[in-house]
């Protein structure tokens, strides 16, 4: 497989996944028995505490349907939707924050999610893989077994449990971190950055710990198997120092499948991040989704979900496209 072929395959499957994802988010709500517009009208009526004029309701319904792209047949709605998403980055107005467009809310939330995820993935991937490498390379020592046990225990613990435990320990029992995130809008300053780091610490720690076991165990198994490879054995017989063997031989080869694995699992990590944001009231996409559900703000919900799918697929694509930099077998045909 040469480089161009590799890139084309990856971009191709990226487009397919985007297409499937966007299509699912478009059709799913339309296949459901409940109608979000009716839900919203009911909500307004209950809030108003009285029955509204039927004519006014019909008019409201009509304008809402137009506003949210529910007019016309399903096919034209669909293409209209695709056009709006990809060329105009337009998800319509928010229902709860009318008339502010959903895209504006998304642009506010996106950096938080991206920052939180980016930092925690890099940390947990690097540290987890380094520890996994050590545990695999020195597999017969006692401390390596100890590290593996930590990985085994952390691996199956779900995100929400880690989040709850951290909240319980560091926000209640020993309250050194805030229970939920509170950052006022305003210009960037050193103080604000400190505040962001302080507020992001527990959510990030949740994500790091959750990914940690996965990386440790994956890397341990890979480097352990890699030690038996002919080139590692031959390097040993060449008298290559064991530090060089570990980094030049075992690590370089074991990291490669871990890059691919990261690209594949980024969706799962993203799921965890959304949940973590909700539990920590962290102002990212996850929290936006949760409040959108609470407010019955379906535009917001579809907007955030669509963006999630695009973001995750794009992140996976970027990782896949970075891969050839590490693997000369693809770089040089």
């Amino acid at each position: 497989m040469n480089l161009i072929q590799y890139i084309l395959t990856r971009v191709g499957s990226y487009l397919v996944i985007l297409f499937v994802g966007i299509t699912v988010t478009f059709f799913l709500p339309r296949l459901m028995p409940s109608d979000p517009i009716e839900g919203y009208i009911n909500q307004i009526q209950t809030q108003a505490g009285q029955t509204m004029d039927p004519a006014a309701i019909t008019k409201l319904r009509q304008s809402l349907r137009e506003l949210y792209g529910l007019e016309g047949n399903l096919v034209s709605q669909y293409f209209n939707y695709l056009k709006k998403v990809f060329f105009e980055f337009d998800f319509g107005p928010s229902l709860s924050g009318f008339p502010k467009p959903v895209s504006e809310y998304i642009l506010q939330a996106l950096p938080w999610t991206a920052g939180l995820l980016g930092v925690s993935i890099i940390f947990s991937w690097l540290i987890g893989n380094l520890i996994g490498l050590l545990a695999g390379f020195f597999h017969n020592t006692r401390w390596a077994t100890g590290l593996e046990v930590v990985g085994v225990i952390l691996y199956p613990i779900p995100y929400y449990i880690l989040a709850l435990v951290l909240i319980l320990l560091f926000a209640y029992v020993w309250p050194i971190f805030p229970l939920s995130t509170t950052i006022r809008p305003g210009p960037m300053s050193i103080g604000k950055i400190r505040l962001i780091v302080y507020n992001s610490f527990l959510p990030a720690l949740t994500l790091v710990l959750a990914g940690f076991g996965w990386n440790v165990l994956g890397m341990k198994a890979l480097s352990f198997a890699n030690k038996e490879e002919g080139y590692v054995q031959f390097a040993r017989l060449k008298g290559v120092p064991s530090r060089t063997i570990m980094f030049q031989y075992v690590a370089k080869n074991s990291f490669l499948p871990q890059i691919t694995a990261l690209a594949l699992s980024i969706g799962g990590i993203f799921n965890g991040a959304l949940l973590t944001e909700i539990l920590f009231s962290y102002p990212g996409l996850g929290l936006r989704m949760r409040t959108a559900i609470g407010n019955g703000d379906f535009n917001m919900l579809y907007g955030t979900v669509t963006i999630s799918i695009i973001a995750v697929a794009t992140a996976a694509l970027i990782i896949d496209l970075l891969y050839p930099f590490f693997d000369p077998r693809i770089r040089y045909q």
């Binding site: 002919g230 080139y231 017989l237 008298g239 120092p241 030049q248 080869n253 000369p328 040089y332």
Partner: protein
């Protein structure tokens, strides 16, 4: 001279201990290509490991010792400290070049990474380039990744690696088995040229008797963890003293000779059994009662030609 003194090499397994090399005692004169042959499981690879000093669990050198006859600045090298001289005084050429080279590192880096970190890499790289050029190999091959080279070129690179430091001893474990005949011939001739120049001792394991006939000065035949015959290649091929060797050679079909050939039927005894007498007795046409009860000694029957058989005379006449 490499002197193997009553070597017993043992593997620890789930089933218990088994001697993969069981009492090998002989002296290999310097400056020869020594061919080692025998069927799979006869202990030839284990013997190579022991000589190389690559003795790690589950393998153990449970008896005997090796005199390498190599002096270092700390005195004579033994199996205990030979690891420090790997590739400098004793080197190893593996069977498969593809799996023995790191796929994600350039060849030149793999040439360099067994040097001390403080040595001048640039100067040594120049030396390596010159050396490779001297072997008639394209020096650009050093800048490639393994997958960019053909199988033959990779194996030549392995030969270059194994000979760069002009080691006293080179161990080669089936280095051309996976290659096509034309490529194989090229590599074997290269190895022979290098040996003629450097006068190193090469221990060359192969199951291909034809390869041994072409390149080996001396032959060492192993059977069921024992050495059964050792001597000059010419006399081993023309006048074998051990029936196993004789049958092995006679089983080889030759182009231009359509005579009926027979393989050696049966299979070697299990090393797990309590082995009494000659280990080849069950498959041997010359075997007598004596062979079943008494183990033949490994004796020099002619100058430089050793064999372990009670019936050497009968074999010679047959």
């Amino acid at each position: 001279m490499i002197r193997l003194n009553n070597i017993v090499a043992t593997y620890s397994t789930v089933r218990g201990q088994v001697n993969a090399v069981d009492g090998v005692d002989l002296a290999i004169p310097n400056g020869n290509i020594v061919g080692i042959a025998g069927e799979s499981g006869c202990g030839k690879s284990t013997l190579l490991k022991i000589i190389y000093g690559d003795i790690i669990y589950p393998l153990a050198l449970s008896r005997g010792h090796i005199d390498y006859g190599i002096e270092s600045n700390k005195g004579e090298i033994t199996t205990k400290d030979i690891q420090q001289y790997w590739f400098k005084r004793i080197s190893y050429i593996p069977q498969s070049s593809m799996s023995s080279l790191n796929p994600v590192v350039r060849i030149r880096q793999q040439f360099l990474d067994f040097l001390e970190p403080r040595q001048n890499k640039k100067a040594i790289l120049e030396e390596i380039r010159d050396y490779v050029k001297g072997l008639d190999l394209p020096p650009e091959a050093l800048d490639a990744y393994p997958h960019q080279l053909s199988g033959g070129m990779r194996q030549r690179i392995m030969v270059a690696m194994g000979t760069f430091f002009k080691p006293d001893i080179i161990l080669a474990d089936e280095p051309t088995t996976a290659l096509d005949v034309v490529v194989q011939k090229g590599i074997l001739l290269l190895l022979m040229d290098i040996q003629e120049q450097m006068k190193n001792t090469i221990l060359f394991v192969s199951h291909d008797m034809g390869v041994h006939y072409q390149i080996s000065h001396k032959m060492l035949i192993m059977y069921a963890a024992k050495v059964v015959e050792f001597g000059d290649s010419d006399s081993v091929f023309k006048a074998s003293l051990h029936p196993y060797t004789k049958m092995l050679i006679e089983a080889l079909p030759t182009i231009g000779d359509a005579h009926q050939r027979e393989g050696v039927s049966g299979r070697p005894p299990s090393l797990w059994d309590n082995l009494v007498g000659c280990r080849f007795a069950a498959r041997c046409p010359f075997a007598t009662e004596l062979c079943k009860t008494e183990e033949p000694a490994f004796i020099e029957h002619q100058p430089g030609h050793f064999a372990a058989c009670h019936h050497v005379d009968k074999v010679r006449q047959a």
